[in-house]
Symmetry: D2
Subunit: 244 residues, 4 copies
């Protein structure tokens, strides 16, 4: 019996408080919808954290108790304090998984981990998207069919300015003529990162069973490995050096 995965779902949580329409879709916030699924359907130990809490809810203690951090932000990326970004970055490199959802592509933490601008094309026209499974042997796609279809969604298009993914899991098709690498795995130090495109504040994307399935699968995949902590710096030789 292994311990349940400890997940922290972070949400900017501004849209839901300002807009009754959005609140109607996500009465407990986007974080609440995701947290409920992971807790009730996947047996994970879930907490949530939001921008307006002290330390954005991401104290050292919370991060130390987190296996996987899920990040959703949109309008207030700049309000996230650099000090907290540093703290999260350090914890990811130390093994905590990070899942960046949708507009988190330009969150400070995702950009810092990627080293590129992470920009893209976008359009809000409620168009159709199909996320095609590209790597069917990766645990993130467990239980899916050949693609996930979202009837109405915001478009994100290439070029997506990220490093080549270490595993490319999904590629999206959009009605208006674009494609997008919509599921990207990265190995970064002792941590793993997954970018997953779907999600929007005004579409009920996080109630879609397949989208939730992927988020649950990814949380399992991102959980840290009890792995070797490398030693850095000046070291003694393992083997004698010199003439033989």
């Amino acid at each position: 019996m292994t311990d349940p995965i400890r997940v922290t779902v972070w949400n900017e949580y501004r849209h839901e408080k300002k807009s009754p329409e959005i609140a109607a879709i996500y009465p407990k916030g986007i974080h609440g919808a995701i947290a409920d699924y992971l807790r009730d359907r996947r047996g994970m130990k879930v907490r949530t954290a939001t921008l307006d809490e002290p330390d954005h809810g991401l104290t050292e203690a919370v991060l130390a108790d987190t296996d996987v951090l899920i990040w959703w932000g949109h309008t207030a990326h700049e309000e996230v304090k650099d000090e907290i970004v540093e703290r999260v970055h350090k914890r990811v490199l130390d093994g905590m998984g990070l899942m960046a959802l949708h507009s988190a592509h330009v969150s400070k933490i995702f950009r810092k981990l990627m080293g590129t601008t992470c920009e893209l094309k976008w359009r809000e026209a409620g168009e159709k998207e199909r996320l095609w499974v590209i790597e069917p042997s990766h645990p993130i796609v467990k239980g899916l069919g050949e693609y996930i279809e979202l009837e109405h969604t915001e478009m994100y298009g290439e070029r997506f300015d990220v490093p080549p993914p270490d595993v490319l899991v999904f590629v999206s098709w959009f009605e208006g003529g674009e494609v997008f690498r919509s599921g990207c795995v990265y190995y970064r130090s002792r941590g793993k990162v997954f970018y997953f495109r779907p999600g929007h504040e005004t579409y009920p994307i996080y109630h879609n069973p397949q989208v939730l399935q992927v988020i649950g699968n990814a949380a399992e995949w991102l959980a840290p490995v009890e792995c070797p902590k490398p030693i850095y710096g000046n070291v003694q030789p393992l083997q004698k050096i010199g003439e033989k």
Copy 2:
């Protein structure tokens, strides 16, 4: 002054002989259209070879004198002799570049190099395709814009059953709802391989200036590197072994 790149354009060359419509599009064959471009516009030293020649035109001498082999086949993959496939395979691993075009995805040589079935979805409905540039710093995309648009083409859709490309250069969007990894680079032994999707016998794809531009760029990229030939087998230690 470097020597010109030596290219051999191989074509099954059956469609053009049977169908006046296809012959009208490619009076010198598909191989002829590609060869003319590479010779006249890119300054390469080009020969052609076809299925019905002795050894399919691919003698040891021809291969030894070839830097880059371009392969187009469609209806007669099974007629290519295994012995010749072995010969080409060996030469690719020895450094010769291989460019597999369109329906060459199920050619014997490409499948042998990939180790997978290389199957895909397809549809002939004359639909629109856009090949989006995914890796803009790769020499294969030199001189292009953000995408190449082909007004009427055959669809190829995921899942494309190939190993994850070592560089993913293009992803295609198709009108009917599919996506496709349409430009894929592979490092294989001392040789390099490029799969490029566009091309069809009844659409004038190989007269499209951007498609030709990519083929020319890829031929440059695929040309062998004057590189270290590894020694395999039983070797002496470079360093004394034993107690110190």
Copy 3:
């Protein structure tokens, strides 16, 4: 409660029958040593199969009932029937994991999956090897330290003629001056492949707890994902094509 992983450990099983020294190290054969560990310590459902059984022990029924196939061969690669290699290849592409150990680098099945010669340098001088962990967040390294040290082993050196691994997990150092990519993950169709270097008939490598730990971890990683089975061939559009 998930079902136990079903593993088949395949061994050429010639050395152990001919040499009392080797039999003394592996009284139940190399396959027996590995099978015992996976069954007793990792709770897997394990069977074994060997070259001299009918169909080399790899009937359609056995393969259909196998999640992960572990392969050890050395002196008799050529005796493995092509028909059986085809059968195993097909099953790997259909989702069964394959772990190729040590001299299985030139087994027919591994070469077929890689598409290259899979050759390397080698030397039997009983020298020291260190397998350094390169990707500490990958599940295959769970529970290890920074490296595995093998006091006396056969050397395998670069260049190892394989495609660039999709994940490079270990790199080995050898006393005599060579390095080697000794743990390589590949995604191939719906299956996953792991090459793991350690192992030899006259050194007790498969009694080493860390080597066994990796084999157990890898078997867990290689187990098939309940994943989308792609449809290949001619398909209807998901979206209407034509003028709008």
Copy 4:
């Protein structure tokens, strides 16, 4: 006739001014040694820039006129102004190649591009290193043998805390028992990055013909591709959206 590649060789240039021993090895500075080779032997258009110049010698005008920036720093990484790091970062993402040499692994610019700590093990014991060629078809290894041997050098050992390279070109063996991914290619936005390990202030590494050969090859490889500049932000559909 193509224009010569425009290279800027940047050096911290402190060691050479403080230590007569180092000045004796590099009378014109490390930058001078590299610049001379690229200019005289490779026909490139080379300038140099150093830490103590205004803007560290890296004005907007200089960067705009640079195809490839080579970076060497060791003791004064923290003195490099963040503003200049931002400027270089932006220019790399816009297409300028970056070659980070040796101790530049912890330069601000390399860390920013990688998103990880870029730390490693090290030891100054004048031990032997062999850089084995791992990908013999990559243009960076043109003209080499199977490995480069450096008789006396500083050791850098795994784990090297960088993202998995997009191409792994060299792996080093060290006498004392370590390995290191010593030649790593990264695609980052429209620019390319190459990390190359050899180099030290007190060993005459940058007079070694093979090391210089690699630096010259890499400068050619890193030169920008006349490539599509992606459009980011809100875009119109290429295709009409809605019911058909």
